[in-house]
Symmetry: C2
């Protein structure tokens, strides 16, 4: 799409910018963002992943990239790292293990850098991992990052229709279409006997469809010890469904 970008923005040659969002923390939003990025790369798309959660960066853990330090090129753009075929950038590469301690204006400054000052190059898709929530932070970020479409990640037990409604309204304000919802931790299949367990209760998909016309793009299972196994997760059939919806 036509972008209004400042001269020299690193986003200039990025075709599609997809936001992966959530109403609450801990629902697996970052995991889904990573999984989506890896899947897109596996399908041959040039893909980037921007970890925009300054206070809770997840990319280093997700992709097992624990070395700190950020490289800059001759034109002083930050060079993203390559992992599992995806160009990744995270504030976590600058922080290491320390939590970010800073106020609003400085945060927004760093986010601007991660968006426009990174040598993203020519990408088909840039996946942006949002900080959890549906407030002003997310609204501003949607505008700054020129988001083309958004996905909302939920779980059966964290689903709050009030919160989802807030999120939808927030995206409407900035003209960002919500492709749909990914329901994570929806069930668990025992590898001992194949029994399917709806541990956190029934899926919330129907009420989302009825209330908001929101489609459930995929229903992802609870998996044993996901830590650091983004490639294995991306290889699952359920994760393909999310990628299909984004690519179509």
């Amino acid at each position: 799409p036509e972008r209004k970008l400042a001269q020299g923005s690193g986003l200039a040659k990025v075709a599609n910018i997809i936001a992966v969002t959530s109403c609450k923390g801990g629902v697996g939003k970052s995991t889904v963002a990573g999984m989506l990025a890896v899947n897109l790369a596996k399908r041959g798309y040039r893909t980037g992943l921007l970890d925009a959660d300054i206070f809770g960066p997840s990319v280093p853990t997700l992709f097992q990239l624990h070395e700190t330090g950020v490289e800059t090129n001759a034109d002083e753009y930050i060079v993203p790292r390559d992992s599992e075929g995806v160009s990744v950038m995270s504030f976590g590469f600058m922080l290491g293990d320390q939590p970010a301690v800073m106020r609003g204006p400085m945060v927004s400054n760093f986010v601007q850098q991660l968006l426009h000052q990174v040598a993203w190059g020519e990408l088909d898709y840039l996946v942006v991992d949002f900080p959890p929530g549906t407030g002003d932070v997310q609204l501003t970020l949607s505008q700054q990052a020129q988001i083309d479409a958004a996905v909302i990640v939920t779980t059966p037990h964290a689903l709050s229709l009030t919160d989802v409604r807030k999120g939808i309204l927030m995206f409407e304000k900035v003209d960002v279409p919500v492709i749909g919802v990914v329901e994570n931790m929806a069930y668990f299949i025992c590898d001992g006997c194949e029994k399917k367990h709806y541990i956190f209760g029934p899926s919330g998909g129907n009420s989302l469809q009825e209330r908001f016309g929101l489609e459930t793009l995929a229903t992802l299972p609870l998996r044993n010890s996901l830590q650091g196994n983004i490639d294995a997760l991306a290889a699952t059939p359920e994760s393909s469904a999310t990628t299909d919806a984004v690519v179509m």
Copy 2:
């Protein structure tokens, strides 16, 4: 313990005030608080449960108490409701389904009411369900509520040693001893074949013991569809361990 209470405070005859806290939302803190209160009541202690999470009240859902409206007695004290043998009070009884929309001073006003303006009567234990987090809100609440001891609820995947450290420091500032940690969602036992699954990874108990000398009071399993089944959850052997630690 000796309490410095304003004249006529509803807390005047409450013997022990126990805070159930967490560093992040969604770890099952309210579930553990409810379970602890029900267990204490089952053991014959006169028990109260104060839902101090104004923005995210959980008691109505947990105890299936969906009628709104709050009763006051002749002395204009709020009368707590009786459920499963526990005297419960929650801002959710005033709100119903609507989320609270208010600022700091008003919140602190309502919390003061729920603490001192409720006819708690003579209680052996008052369990206070804190809002999630380890910041100023929790610090102020610890002081206002005259907390005698605290329990921290975690999960294997939400465990952040940095956050736990913040929480410990916060409680130290207000001289509140942390009894220990309850690790929730630690494993899942398939009822089809009895296989034990550590879905969210290994227990974090050892590092908590080593780093902070924090004891793990209980390791609670993931259970199928907990919603509204506080009594069933309280009846489990794992939940007894938490109650033992509080009572000793």
